[in-house]
Symmetry: C2
Subunit: 320 residues, 2 copies
């Protein structure tokens, strides 16, 4: 299999290399019959552009990067997994490829940006796990590197485009479901205050309870099954519990057998044990991230950043 370049195609179609390039990049500028002839040559030769050569000229690599994190607690690791899959799919459709990197800490990640940017000319980044005081976004923004975050910029100004899941809507839906099934003493098992995601999940439950005019009871635990179990034991009145994660929910199931429990993230664990859980639309979120990033990369992005809050859905199983 000989190497097929734009020159090979040009010879076959009886045109110049430039005309072939035009057919690929700006077809409307080529006469239809010529265009057709070139296209046939491309197809019959199985020609494909050489991205490295193109990149040398255009400075664009058609490459995106995402960080793959160690599955922390483990239970929630699959969330990133599903997001990555969706992103890879969406990127392919949009003509991009996804590159992986690992990094420890925000500074390490920023160092990696520099490497990736100068060595591979990366076109853009998708950031996950945004958090309070996140230095990554401003670093990228200062250098005009296109990026989108999956997760809103907690505590920072909304100066870039992001996609997020409406965490509060998720726990609100869970709470409404429990109300509809007759519960009135619905507790909440959450994370310590301060994490944006965790606070939003608590808020969805709290506001729904307030609307219903019902008293609330909530406890706090670091994420984990065992810590969730011991915290749940302090929920003495509740007949039902909304939890900030499936890990906590699992703990609650153990500590409070027989009560209605709802988790968050719809992880494999939830499916396995029949735990009702709030499911994030990860594939859609990934697709939207790609859409926004593509806009940025094509220079057709609106001047004001876009913010997308996607509604999660409740997957009802045995526990509620």
């Amino acid at each position: 299999m000989e190497k097929v370049t734009i020159a090979t195609v040009a010879v076959r179609a009886g045109v110049s290399r430039q005309t072939v390039s035009n057919v690929i990049n700006t077809p409307e500028v080529v006469r239809p019959e010529t265009r057709e002839r070139v296209r046939e040559a491309i197809a019959s030769l199985g020609y494909r552009v050489n991205q490295a050569a193109r990149q040398m000229r255009t400075g664009r690599s058609k490459l995106l990067a995402v960080r793959i994190e160690p599955a922390r607690d483990g239970i929630n690791g699959s969330v990133l997994d599903r997001f990555l899959h969706g992103l890879t799919d969406a990127a392919t459709v949009a003509g991009y490829r996804v590159m992986l990197y690992t990094a420890s800490g925000d500074d390490g990640e920023i160092a990696t940006y520099e490497e990736l940017l100068t060595e591979y000319d990366l076109d853009g980044f998708v950031l996950t796990s945004t958090h309070h005081g996140d230095p990554r976004t401003s670093w990228l923004a200062e250098r005009d590197v296109p990026f989108v975050t999956f997760g809103r910029p907690w505590g920072a100004p909304d100066t870039h485009s992001w996609v997020d899941v409406d965490n509060a809507a998720g726990t609100a839906a869970a709470t409404r479901h429990l109300l509809a099934t007759g519960h009135t003493r619905i507790g909440f098992l959450g994370w310590p205050a301060g994490s944006g995601v965790g606070d939003a999940r608590r808020e969805g439950w709290a506001s729904t309870m307030a609307e219903a005019g019902l008293p609330t009871e909530d406890v706090v635990a670091v994420d984990g099954v065992d810590s969730g179990a011991s915290a749940a034991e302090r929920l003495t009145n509740a007949t039902a519990v909304v939890c900030a994660s499936d890990s906590l929910a699992l703990g609650a199931m153990r500590a409070l057998p027989g009560r209605a429990i709802v988790g968050f993230d719809d992880t494999a664990v939830a499916r396995a044990v029949g735990l009702t859980s709030v499911s994030q639309p990860l594939a859609e979120a990934a697709g939207r991230c790609m859409d926004l990033l593509a806009e940025l990369l094509d220079g057709r992005a609106p001047t004001t950043p876009t913010h997308l809050l996607l509604p999660p859905s409740l997957v009802v199983r045995r526990t509620a």
Copy 2:
């Protein structure tokens, strides 16, 4: 931040571009003092090679590709996740980057190989989920594309290098552990015969039982918690059950409360519910894959392919 090329460095160090290139690629050919001067220039300018330009000349992209699969059953999705993380880490150390792709079916994957190879000049592939009648390895081998598989070539000749986890050793260890804790009637809950991995997992249990001179009892179910539960109910004599996966084990836990159960894969679910399980050394497997691939890419691979069988370990928790 101006663009720093090899020419910038050359000017700064007062040498020719070629000398800079030599310092980077064949330092031993440059006089030590010159070398040092060039290195200082590189450091102070923050120079990094442009991979696209290098690739144009050398034909090597320093890029590897791995497929990211949709988390099938879900429970076992995290296995790939952890492997990917390890691979990304190992690749970075070896000077490579990992690119992701998705594909449906073996043919779709092969089509993707062509694209990746011609468009991005990929240096090599790491394949996962090898199976009987896998057409991917021969396609790659015929075209002399460097690759390594994580998972041995079931039913096909061992003509390429691979890394795998010794599945039989895992269930054997689980069985020995159960024997040591006093069980004699140890059943097996496995997948239908025909999958290489599943058969190996059964074999480890069966041979250990045979060595101990004990009678065996085993049932079969497609992977899943519910199917595992109903199959487990047919294990009437066993006081302990070794399972081919954590999903099946979860089913067994439900169907046979109080009996000793061991799962396989040490997924998040196992940690969450306290299931004793066989843990695969995924980070190490990924590292080995990278090592073997690097050998291949550097042309310093032995003429006969390398096969690595890594021992898993048993993580003992509450259920056994």
